[in-house]
């Protein structure tokens, strides 16, 4: 096997991690807005908040498909086992996202049922987020695997730990959503977003603290990684960087710099993600299947890597362009296309 082929699984693990992280920070803010929906005060505020994400949510959600599709493409064994093991929360997530997604279209088509689609938007966003957090928690605990088959039960993912990760994600998404509202809105909604941003930051930090304390004790393996060389560097540096990012968010959300607040929020997610990566690498199904064991042949990974090298930069370019086209504050009259 040539040198390059040897690293294909690692390259692909990085690309999929990037896709999932991109999903989290992009769909994260629009799910966060969905969670805030009932608390936005007036009808006008709700319409304005929804209009600010209507042109981009489609593209945001596509990263979730990229995560799933990518996993099937290059780590089919892991795809099968993870989806099998987390069947219940994944189906809950998909059904919730369906409610959330159609609400964008249906809400503006009716007056009588508008309240219903408001609830669908809120409920769908909240439950999808909780389910995603529980999926993360369930995955970290490590599904039971025998050979190439998941052999656990349908509710193995339920635990205090996954409840914690579920609530942490709610706080984190609200934090991102608040920064987005600061960027996109003005007046009352904008003031509200600034206050909510501060509260959600504190909640996010609290949950990250709890999860960080719990994670090393889920598996002896995690413990060793975090407190042995070179993990100890990350154990020491990550909390410091995280505090710096949190401080940045706090300063910016209070002083009207929504873009910087959003970027600081992303930094918090990236750092948590790095921590997760350190905990489970080189496993892809924690504690049972490694990236290499789950890999397909180099021929499959190489074939689609060509596509990724060509298309991912193009995708990022036109995604950025679409955001650019809709830059600036959103009025509530807009997007009644």
């Amino acid at each position: 096997m040539s040198g390059f082929a040897h690293y294909l699984p690692d390259i692909w693990a990085a690309i999929i991690a990037f896709a999932i992280l991109t999903y989290v920070v992009l769909d994260g803010f629009d799910l966060g807005i969905g969670i805030l929906f009932p608390f936005l005060g007036s009808e006008e505020n709700r319409t304005r908040a929804m209009n600010s994400v209507a042109p981009v949510w489609d593209g945001n959600e596509t990263w979730l498909v990229m995560g799933g599709g990518g996993l099937l493409a290059v780590f089919p064994l892991a795809y099968g086992i993870i989806l099998n093991a987390l069947y219940v929360p994944i189906i809950i997530m998909l059904l919730s996202l369906a409610f959330r997604g159609v609400a964008f279209e249906f809400r503006g088509k009716t007056r009588r049922w508008q309240k219903l689609w408001d609830k669908a938007f809120f409920g769908g966003s909240l439950i999808a987020t909780l389910a995603q957090g529980a999926i993360l928690g369930g995955l970290l605990r490590g599904p039971e695997v025998t050979g190439r088959t998941f052999t656990g039960g349908p509710f193995d993912w339920v635990s205090w730990f996954s409840l914690g990760t579920a609530l942490a994600l709610v706080a984190g998404y609200v934090m991102l959503g608040s920064a987005w509202l600061v960027i996109k809105t003005s007046h009352g909604l904008y003031d509200l977003a600034r206050r909510v941003g501060q509260v959600s930051l504190i909640a996010t930090l609290g949950f990250i603290g709890l999860a960080s304390l719990a994670t090393p004790f889920l598996h002896p393996e995690y413990y060793n990684r975090w407190f042995a060389w070179p993990g100890i560097i990350l154990s020491a540096v990550v909390p410091l960087l995280l505090l710096a990012a949190a401080f940045g968010y706090w300063k910016c959300i209070r002083s009207d710099r929504g873009v910087m607040a959003y970027l600081s929020g992303i930094a918090i997610f990236v750092l948590c993600f790095a921590g997760l990566g350190l905990s489970i690498f080189p496993y892809i199904v924690p504690a049972s299947i490694t990236i290499r064991e789950a890999s397909t042949t180099a021929m499959s990974q190489g074939f689609i890597l060509v596509g990724a090298a060509i298309f991912l930069p193009i995708i990022l370019a036109y995604t950025a362009y679409a955001y650019w086209v809709f830059r600036g504050k959103t009025s509530e009259h807009e997007h009644h296309y």
Partner: protein
Amino acid sequence: MSIFDIPTLDLARAQFAFVVSAHIVFPAFSIGTASYLMVLEALRMITGKDVYLRIFEFWKHIFAVVFGMGVVSGVVMSYEFGLNFAHFSDKAGPVIGPLMGYEVMTAFFLEAGFLGIMLFGRNRVNKWIYMFAVTMVAFGTLLSAFWILSVNSWMQTPAGFAMNDVGQFIPKDWWEVIFNPSLPYRFVHMVLAAYLTTALVVAGVGAWHHIKGTADDAVRTMFRMAVAMILVTAPIQIFAGDQHGLNTLEHQPAKIAAMEGHWETSKGAGLILFGIPNPSQERTDYKIEVPYASSLILTHSLDGEVPGLGDFPPDERPPMTIVFFTFRIMVGLGFAFAAIGLWGGWLMWRKRLHEPGLFHKVALVFAPGGFLAIIMGWFTTEFGRQPYTVYGHFTTAESVSNLSHGAAWAALIGFVLVYAFLFGSGIFYLGRLMKRGPEGAEPVENTPQRAGGVAGAMLANDVTTEKEEAHA
């Protein structure tokens, strides 16, 4: 046996079949509508006629609702393989995974990325970029169909692969995998189906407004375009379907036997127009048959050999009754569409297309006919390949996940309830939009123009433009 004794395998299959059947109608309509919108926008740019803009804006609303439902059901599809068929994902993933990856990267992102501009951006970008965005959305829908049908076709007529020591299908030649023997037929058949389905819907909406006396210039124009489209596409579709049948005879003879209703392999086989398959006796009852026609159609010779299902071992037979009837419904609808096209063409030639009459009532009745035909065709091809997921190599029973019976039931019920509610509401809203007609569509001028040059607005948020506040 009570329904709670249904094996988990069948629950997993029912869920997959339900979810994919619900999904397929949305992309089919999106493919047709996206191309239609692209044509309308191009016509507007070329002719400068306002009528095309009005038709465009009307169908754009409908497209947005359909596309939204397509996205949410499509996201489900990308996880469905792993949820219910984990072993299939593991074993076939090395071959089909990269194709689905290409679908996401070349098509799904393209549609989603430019959709926002197409729906909300007419006044924010110049007309060339707008035309480009509309084109990219249309192109994305077609590319998406290409990759998904490549995956499906490979499962039906697998090629270009080898097996490794853990029993996975491993790609040997990507060209052979992607352009496997049935892909060209399946792709052409599906895209034509999408165009025909959309044309039938447009014609149906136009017919309704003719009957109600609300057919203005825009309605008349779109009605003429739709009837012309049916006239052209329906006969081509019949030809394409025939070609696809020949391909199926070559690669999936058991499926052909089930479609035709033949139990015994014979030369000079008759075409069974109607009958009732009787699997326990291995015969088809109450047959109405056209002598030699089956051989003639399938082999283009009067005494050509046509396979019978009885020649296959019982555990390799697809369920004939389902395949036999779904196939006949699809073909019957196809000929009905062709007749509608000819009828409409004749009226157009006689310059009577816009006089409300029986034709308009028929066109209204057949407005959802394309969807029915697509689902029937889908059932024919998917039930027809049973008991395999990868035809001839890997069975559905080997493919299924380790699911708990209760979770599989709950998921099936959950999908049926949620989809019925969401998509039922969606169809209701679509009906309302269609009833309103192009006149009811909001004029685009309502969308406020963004002040140019607010580059700093992203970074310095206090630059809220007065113009927008004025609109607020």
